[in-house]
């Protein structure tokens, strides 16, 4: 028998609308499981049990009153702790924001609530989104449910683990250079980074504003389509938000197979530096895609050789500016008993920011500093344009691109934390789509011999999330990689 906490978001919403399941039962089930399971995972930084149960009661009352319910009615959703919700804590995984309570709500969270979702708890993350393992959080590392000594990936590791461990069926994350896709791959769940601007960033604690995207994590492409339809759309509060696009859910099952689909496999993202088991899983997935009718063609993205330095120079340059606001004056950690304002600011920032955040602020300051700006920031900006042009050329001859999501499966906690460069290289396959602002999706495609999940990444032209989700849905309808659950 399927337990409530094993149900998909689509199944929950359908059962709640039909009166077969109450939202209160569903929320209670998830809260109980969080209390029971999360002690060993550290995926959840805090729950809002009372508010969630009240919201669930409101959904149940609306149903009983015959009022129409939203597409996510009664679905428990966790959100990454760099998204703000009025009256709730929002730490961004940092000691700097330890006691910060937001006076306003992120657009994406408000839209999910309007769709009937129940916001249930905040998830752990790398500090300010800076990390690929959820080890840089000031609140301790999150552990992978497929192995307690393994990282879950990052920076949205808490959100990925929340879904993988069945603490909730849907979670919101953010993806600046792969922070939704990479933990999705390492935890055996499905993660979507939409086109830059498709989901409003209003209420997202900024890391690198030209790259930051809000993404979703779920077990299935169907649940992600529901999430995106509820979350996306233009927002007057975010000038970079793009005009509202047609809903995807009604057309998700339009394809029964992949006949007529031309998939490009860029050799630069599918060869050098890949773990052997990851490479084998991708080859196996390619064979399955051919079996479903897809035409697989080799292609090239020559400039992605520069993607990692380009990403880290641009992202840290933007971070050095975005994080200048944490000065101990208006909010955030403040060192007391210091007689001068400039010394108070410096000591507050040094005490509030962790090691990786300080390193990235310094790198970004270097990239922007007089004498080096054009050699580093300027060159990174040019390289970004070359990468965008590579994608445009590739999409002229195929509809989607395919690669592994991460060059390696989940690695042991502590193995990369003292080697930032090695950690940065874990993002080599996800940063190209981020730099080009393109939508990308990671879905499970296999496991290593010792049971660690492996993910494959689909990349699409701007605003073609419909195609990403349709193809991922077909793959899931014909494979069972996404069904393996790590915890009873």
């Amino acid at each position: 028998m399927t337990s409530l906490w094993q149900m998909s978001a689509a199944a929950i919403a359908s059962a709640v609308r039909a009166g077969e399941l109450s939202a209160r039962e569903m929320v209670t089930s998830c809260l109980d499981r969080m209390q029971r399971i999360d002690t060993g995972l550290n995926a959840i930084l805090g729950t809002r049990a009372e508010a969630a149960l009240q919201a669930a009661a409101a959904v149940d009352a609306a149903r009983q009153g015959g009022h129409p319910l939203g597409p996510l009615a009664g679905v428990p959703v966790a959100w990454k702790d760099n998204l703000v919700l009025a009256g709730e804590l929002a730490t961004a995984g940092s000691r700097m924001l330890d006691r910060f309570r937001s006076p306003y709500s992120a657009t994406v969270l408000e839209r999910l609530q309007r769709a009937g979702a129940i916001l249930i708890g905040r998830t752990n993350m790398d500090e300010f989104g800076m990390g690929s393992s959820t080890e840089t959080s000031a609140y301790g590392p999150t552990r992978n449910p497929f192995g307690a000594d393994l990282v879950p990936g990052g920076s949205s590791g808490g959100s990925a683990v929340a879904v993988a461990a069945d603490l909730c069926p849907l979670a919101v994350g953010s993806d600046t250079g792969g922070s939704v896709r990479q933990p999705a791959a390492m935890c055996g769940v499905t993660g979507l980074k939409p086109t830059y601007g498709r989901v409003s960033r209003y209420g997202l604690i900024a890391y690198a504003s030209s790259l930051d995207c809000i993404g979703g994590l779920a077990r299935t492409a169907e649940d992600l389509a529901l999430w995106l339809d509820a979350s996306a759309g233009s927002d007057p509060a975010d000038a970079t938000s793009v005009p509202t696009q047609p809903a995807i859910t009604p057309h998700l099952a339009a394809r029964r197979d992949l006949r007529g689909l031309r998939v490009g496999v860029p050799w630069e993202l599918n060869g050098p530096g890949l773990d052997a088991e990851v490479a084998a899983a991708i080859q196996n997935a390619v064979a399955q895609l051919r079996g479903l009718g897809a035409e697989i063609v080799e292609c090239s993205l020559p400039s992605v050789a520069h993607a990692v330095p380009t990403y880290y120079l641009l992202a840290t340059a933007e971070a050095s500016s975005n994080l200048a606001r944490y000065d101990g004056v208006r909010y955030g950690l403040r060192r007391d008993a210091i007689s001068r304002c400039d010394a108070m600011m410096m000591q507050s920032r040094s005490a509030g920011f962790g090691d990786e955040v300080q390193l990235r602020i310094l790198l970004g300051t270097f990239a922007l500093s007089f004498g080096y700006h054009d050699q580093y920031y300027g060159q990174a900006t040019r390289a970004r344009a070359l990468i965008c042009a590579d994608f445009a050329r590739a999409f002229a001859s195929c509809e989607l691109l395919l690669s592994p999501t991460s060059p390696v499966p989940a690695f042991p906690i502590g193995s990369h934390i003292d080697d930032p460069l090695a950690m940065y290289l874990c993002d080599a396959l996800t940063v190209p789509a981020s730099l080009a602002g393109l939508p990308a999706l990671s879905q499970p495609c296999g496991f290593t011999a010792d049971g660690r999940p492996i993910g494959m990444q689909w990349m699409a032209p701007a605003l073609r999330e419909d195609l990403l989700l349709q193809v991922a849905h077909v793959f899931q309808a014909n494979t069972d990689h996404h069904l393996r659950r790590p915890l009873p």
Partner: protein
């Protein structure tokens, strides 16, 4: 291609000052080593042809700027709610200038 800039301890202290970070000596040694490795690894980027840097991402719609209309501000009490250092409806900071 110009030589890789050598970030030394003086350069690091200058960057820390610009970034408003107070770095103890033992942290400086670790950060200096890491920054030197990262900058050296990223040096290949300087081999790319130079020229005017393009602005913005291709194929995305232009910014959707909203009309410039005055709206009510957030109440002062809410603005001040996240600091213990306030008085008379304002943030309180230590002395900024001597005198």
């Amino acid at each position: 291609m110009p030589d890789t800039p050598a970030i030394d301890r003086v350069e690091l202290q200058n960057l820390a000052s610009l970034a408003r970070l107070d770095l103890p000596a033992e942290r400086q040694a670790i950060l200096l080593h890491r920054l030197q490795r990262i900058v050296a690894a990223f040096d290949a980027l300087r081999e790319l042809p130079t020229g005017p840097a393009p602005a913005g991402l291709p194929s995305l719609p232009p910014l959707g700027l909203r009309p410039d209309v005055a709206e009510p501000a957030m109440p002062v009490a809410e603005v001040l709610a996240n600091t213990r250092h306030q008085a008379a409806g304002a943030f309180v900071v230590p002395r900024v200038v001597d005198g």
